[in-house]
C-alpha cells in the first residue's frame, strides 16, 4: 500500500468522534459501489462494537468499486511477507472479473479498515476468502443489474470481461464498470452467501501470480515503519534492564545531557534519550550510568525442563477414546519417551519499529505489527486516550512469524511522542529484539505408546507441557488413546517462563509434530516395519494417506527398516486445516555430529490453492526456516538474562544449509482453501530426527539437534 493511494481516497483524514451511522459512513466513502460484509463469526462484530470502532458495526470488511473503475478492498489484515496482498486481490479480481492490476488492497489502517483481531494462524485466506468472494459476487451482480439497464439488455444476455460488460451477441454494445460506477452512490450489505463462481471458471485464482509488492521491494521504494520520517522527528533509545525482572536502583543521566541536542525523558519506569540523530541518541544512552538489582537466577536453558515439569498445573484432556488399560494389554511392545525443545526466537530481520505522532489529543502510530487494532487499544490505554483518538497505520512489515503480535515498541513510541511533543521513532536494536522477543516456549512432551505383534498402534498416551494444544491430537487409527495438555497456551502462567513467550510460526505444532512423528518411527522400528508402510497401515484418514503417497512418489521412497544407513526420514502432520507430508535425506558427519540436510520433499494438501506460486514460496520458506529450530536455534539464558543477543551466537539458516527443496501441491479445486503460511514448517523437526536415526541408528530427543546432541545419540 503506497502512501499516495490514501490520498486518492477522499476520507483520509477522518477520525470521527463517535461511531458513524451507516449513512454517515457511506457519505464519507464518496461515489461508487460499496459492498459491506462480515467476516467470520458474529462474535467478531461484537468485539468490534466493544472496541469503539469508528465504523458502523454491522460489517467488518468492505470493498468499493470507485468511479474510476478501481476496486479497493479494505481489511485489517497486514502484509508481512506471507503474500496475502496478492492472494486476496486475486480472489477479488476473479470474482469481479476485473484485471488484477485494477485492485488495491488497503491493509492494516485502523481508521480506514474495519476491526480485525490480527494477522496470524494462517487465517487470512481461509476465513477472509469466502466472504470476500461472496462480496465480490454481490458487487458483480449490482454491476450486471446496472449494465442491463444501461444497455437495455436482460442480464442473462450479458457477459463480463476485464471490467467491461458486453452484450453476448452484439459485442459493440458494452459498458465498463467505471462508467457504471460514475456518479452512483450504491451501498449493499451482503446478507447471504451468493452463488459463487465454480472453481473451473477461475481465470486468475489457481494460476501462478508473482508478488504484487515485488518491484517496490527490489528498488528500495517499499516503506517499512523505520523508513518513515516525519518533520521534527526524534530517534529514541531506551534504557533496558540487564535481565528480565531486574529492578532499577538508580540512574545518573547527567552524562547523556552532555551530548548536544540530547533530551532525556523519564516516565515512570522508562528512561529514554531522544535525539534527531540516531547515532547521537545511541551515544547519549551509553552515557547513562544505571544500577540494577538482578533477581537470583533460578533456571537456565539446561534446568528449564525439570522446572517446567515441576510447576506444571493439572492437565486438560484434549481428546480421548477407548481405554488406556485395555491398550496396554493389547500391546506387545510399550515404549515411553520424553521429548524436549528449548526457546526459539522469531528473529525477523526487521526489528520491532514504530513511529508515533501525538497532536491535539490524537495519536497516529505507524508500526511494524501483526495486530494494528491491538496496538490501537494498548496505545490508547497507555496514553490515557480514547481508542477512537488513536490511528494505527501498518506499512510493510519485515517478517512476523507470530513475534509482532506483541508491539511494545509502538506503545513506547506513543508515550515518548506525547511527552516530547515531537514525532518519535523507536526502532529496537538487535539485542533489544532478542531481549523482548516473545519466544516460542520451551516445552516437554511425554508419550507412552504401544504396538501389537501385527504392527498396529494399540496405545497412545500423550501429554504436552507448555507448548500448547495446536497439533497435539494424533490422526492415526488408534483404539485406545488420550491426549493431555499441561500449562495451556504459549504464554504459560506466571512463574513458568523467566521471560515473555508467545506464538511462533505454527505455534505448538512444531513441538507436537516432532514428538509424535519421532515416536511413530520408534514404534515402526519396534514393529520392524518401513516407516512409510507403518504409517499407511495405521491411518484411515484418506487426505493424510494421499499426501503421504504424493510425497513418497516425488521422493522415490523405497521401503526399508530404519536404520537403513541411507539417512532417509519421513514425517506428516496437520496444521491450519492443511495436510503436509515431508521426506528428507540427511548426511551426518560422524566425527563432528554436523547434520547436512541434502534434500527435502514437501507435499501439501491445502484444498483450493488460491495462488499456487505463493503457496510454494511459503512451503519453501517453511522448510528453510524449519532447518533452524530443528538443528540450531536455541535461546541460552541464565534466569531472566538472555545470553544470545545477536546473530553471532544465535544461528539462523543460511544459504550453505540449504537442501534441494521439492514441493508438491495437491490442488483440490473443489475443497475450501486452507492455511498456507505455516503448515510446511511443522514436520521439519520430526523428518530430520527420523532421517538422523535412519543414518546413524541413534535418536535425538531434544530440539535443536545440535552436533553435540547428535554425537551423543551415536553413543
Amino acid at each position: 500500500m503506497k502512501k499516495d493511494d490514501y490520498q486518492a481516497m477522499d476520507f483520509y483524514d477522518i477520525a470521527p468522534a463517535l461511531p458513524l451511522s451507516r449513512r454517515e459512513f457511506i457519505k464519507l466513502l464518496g461515489g461508487g459501489i460499496v459492498i459491506l460484509f462480515a467476516v467470520g463469526e458474529p462474535s467478531l462484530l461484537e468485539a468490534q462494537r466493544q472496541r469503539g470502532q469508528p465504523l458502523p458495526d454491522d460489517f467488518n470488511a468492505f470493498l468499493r468499486i470507485g468511479e474510476d473503475g478501481r476496486v479497493s478492498c479494505f481489511t485489517g489484515k497486514i502484509e508481512m511477507g506471507q503474500g496475502v496482498i496478492t492472494s486476496l486481490a486475486m480472489m477479488l479480481a476473479d470474482e469481479l472479473e476485473v484485471p488484477l492490476d485494477s485492485v488495491d488492497m488497503v491493509m492494516g489502517d485502523t481508521d480506514l479498515c474495519p476491526w480485525d483481531a490480527g494477522t496470524w494462524g494462517s487465517m487470512s485466506t481461509r476465513f477472509f476468502g469466502p466472504p470476500l468472494r461472496a462480496a465480490a459476487a454481490e458487487a458483480r451482480a449490482v454491476l450486471i443489474e446496472l449494465g442491463a439497464e444501461y444497455l437495455q439488455t436482460p442480464p442473462s444476455e450479458l457477459t463480463v470481461e476485464a471490467g467491461v460488460i458486453y452484450n453476448k451477441s452484439q459485442r459493440q454494445k458494452k459498458v465498463s464498470y467505471s462508467q457504471l460506477a460514475k456518479g452512483k452512490k450504491i451501498t449493499r450489505r451482503l446478507e447471504k452467501e451468493k452463488v459463487l463462481e465454480k472453481p473451473s471458471d477461475f481465470t486468475i485464482v489457481g494460476t501462478p501470480v508473482l508478488r504484487r509488492d515485488a518491484v517496490d521491494k527490489v528498488t528500495g521504494k517499499a516503506r517499512f515503519a523505520g523508513d518513515l520520517q516525519e518533520e521534527g522527528m526524534l530517534y529514541a533509545r531506551i534504557l533496558r534492564p540487564p535481565a528480565h525482572g531486574a529492578k532499577l536502583i538508580s540512574a545518573d543521566t547527567s552524562g547523556a545531557k552532555t551530548i548536544e541536542g540530547a533530551r532525556v525523558i523519564q516516565d515512570g519506569d522508562m528512561i529514554a534519550v531522544l535525539h534527531e540523530d540516531p547515532e547521537l541518541a545511541d551515544q547519549a544512552l551509553k552515557k547513562i550510568k544505571a544500577q540494577w538489582e538482578k533477581p537470583e537466577a533460578i533456571v537456565d536453558d539446561k534446568t528449564i525442563f525439570d522446572h517446567l515439569l515441576k510447576v506444571a498445573p493439572p492437565g486438560d484432556i484434549v481428546s480421548e477414546g477407548g481405554n488406556l488399560a485395555e491398550g496396554e494389554k493389547a500391546s506387545k511392545t510399550i515404549i515411553e519417551k520424553t521429548y524436549l525443545n528449548g526457546y526459539v526466537a522469531h528473529a525477523t530481520i526487521e526489528t520491532h519499529t514504530a513511529l508515533a505522532k501525538v497532536e491535539g489529543g490524537k495519536a497516529t502510530i505507524w508500526a511494524s505489527t501483526q495486530s494494528p487494532f491491538g496496538v490501537k487499544e494498548e496505545a490508547a490505554s497507555a496514553l490515557g486516550f480514547q481508542s477512537k483518538d488513536v490511528h494505527v497505520i501498518t506499512p510493510f512489515v519485515g517478517g512476523g512469524f507470530g513475534g509482532k503480535g506483541s508491539s511494545r515498541q509502538a506503545v513506547e513510541a506513543a508515550r515518548l511522542a506525547k511527552i516530547a511533543g515531537r514525532p518519535i521513532q523507536v526502532a529496537w536494536t538487535r539485542p533489544e529484539e532478542f531481549f523482548y522477543d516473545t519466544f516460542r516456549p520451551a516445552a516437554v512432551v511425554k508419550i507412552k505408546a504401544g504396538v501389537t505383534g501385527l504392527g498396529a498402534i494399540s496405545l497412545w498416551d500423550y501429554g504436552v507441557y507448555f507448548a500448547g494444544e495446536r497439533g497435539s491430537q494424533h490422526f492415526y487409527d488408534i483404539p485406545h488413546h488420550r491426549t493431555m495438555t499441561y500449562g495451556s497456551g504459549w504464554q504459560g502462567q506466571p512463574g513458568s517462563h523467566p521471560f515473555g513467550t508467545g506464538p511462533w510460526r505454527a505455534p505448538a505444532n512444531n513441538t507436537n509434530t516432532f514428538a509424535r512423528e519421532s515416536q511413530i518411527d520408534i514404534l515402526a522400528a519396534a514393529a520392524e516395519k518401513d516407516p512409510l508402510e507403518f504409517r499407511l497401515k495405521n491411518l484411515k484418514d484418506t487426505r493424510m494417506i494421499r499426501v503421504l503417497k504424493a510425497a513418497a512418489e516425488k521422493f522415490g521412497w523405497t521401503p526399508a527398516k530404519a536404520p537403513s544407513g541411507r539417512g532417509h526420514g519421513i514425517a506428516c502432520g496437520i496444521d491450519a486445516g492443511t495436510y503436509v507430508a515431508h521426506m528428507c535425506e540427511v548426511e551426518v558427519d560422524r566425527k563432528t555430529g554436523h547434520v547436512q540436510v541434502k534434500r527435502v520433499v514437501c507435499a501439501q494438501d491445502m484444498g483450493l490453492s488460491i495462488n499456487p506460486e505463493g503457496a510454494k514460496i511459503q512451503m519453501e520458506g517453511c522448510v528453510t526456516m524449519g532447518l533452524g529450530y530443528a538443528l540450531a536455534e536455541d535461546i541460552h539464558f541464565k534466569g531472566g538474562e538472555i545470553l544470545d543477543l545477536n546473530f553471532d551466537t544465535y544461528e539462523i539458516p543460511r544459504f550453505s544449509w540449504l537442501p534441494q527443496i521439492e514441493t508438491v501441491l495437491i490442488d483440490d479445486r473443489n475443497a475450501a482453501p486452507q492455511g498456507g503460511g505455516e503448515p510446511a514448517i511443522i514436520c521439519m523437526g520430526g523428518v530430520i530426527a527420523n532421517a538422523i536415526f535412519d543414518a546413524i541408528g541413534g535418536r535425538v530427543f531434544q530440539l535443536p539437534m545440535t552436533p553435540e546432541r547428535v554425537k551423543q545419540a551415536m553413543g
Binding site: L210, T219, Q229, I617
Partner: protein, 160 residues
C-alpha cells in the same frame, strides 16, 4: 571531527561536511533519506545494510563515512537505470526471490558485488558469496535461482 568529504552516490557527485566517525548506514538513511538500505543487526552479521563502495559490498552499519571519501557508493536506489530494473532486480521479481523484502536490498547488492567479480558463478560460488547474508522468510532457494538468471542476462549484455 568535522571534515569535508567528496564522493559519488548513485552516480552523482556529493560533497558533505560531516563528522568523520559517523556511520555510513545512518548517513544514507537520515541525511540522504535513502531508506532502501536497512538496519538489521547493527553488528555486521546479517547483511541487510549492504551497499557497494567502489563495487565492493560493505556492511554500511560498520562503515565509517570517512572511508567513502573519493569513492563511489551504490545503494539499492541507484541500481535501476532510466526507469529500467537492473537485471538482478528483474530476476528477483521474476523468481519471486523475496517475501517480506527486508533483506532484499542487501541480498541484491551483495549479489551484484559477486557478479562483478565472477560473472559466471556456479551454484556453489553463489552459496559461498551469499552465505553471510541472512533471510528469515526462507527465500534462499529462489534468491540463488534469481542470481543465476541475472548472471546469464548480464553476460548476454544487458548490464543496466
Amino acid at each position: 571531527m568535522n571534515k569535508t568529504i567528496r564522493f559519488k552516490l548513485n552516480g552523482k557527485t556529493k560533497s558533505l561536511e560531516i563528522d568523520r566517525d559517523r556511520i555510513l548506514l545512518w548517513v544514507l538513511r537520515t541525511d540522504f533519506k535513502l531508506t532502501g538500505t536497512k538496519f538489521g543487526c547493527g553488528e555486521g552479521f546479517c547483511g541487510a545494510c549492504t551497499v557497494l563502495v567502489d563495487n565492493e559490498p560493505v556492511r554500511s552499519c560498520q562503515f565509517p563515512v570517512a572511508n567513502i571519501d573519493e569513492k563511489e557508493v551504490i545503494t539499492i536506489e541507484g541500481l535501476a537505470g532510466n526507469g529500467k530494473l537492473h537485471p538482478l532486480q528483474a530476476a528477483f521479481v521474476e523468481h519471486d526471490a523475496l517475501q517480506c523484502g527486508f533483506c532484499t536490498s542487501g541480498m541484491i547488492l551483495t549479489a551484484y558485488g559477486l557478479l562483478l567479480k565472477n560473472p559466471n558463478p556456479s551454484r556453489k560460488d553463489i552459496i559461498k558469496g551469499m552465505d553471510e547474508n541472512l533471510c528469515r522468510c526462507g527465500a534462499h532457494t529462489r534468491i540463488i535461482q534469481a542470481i543465476q538468471r541475472a548472471a546469464q542476462n548480464m553476460r548476454g549484455g544487458s548490464k543496466r
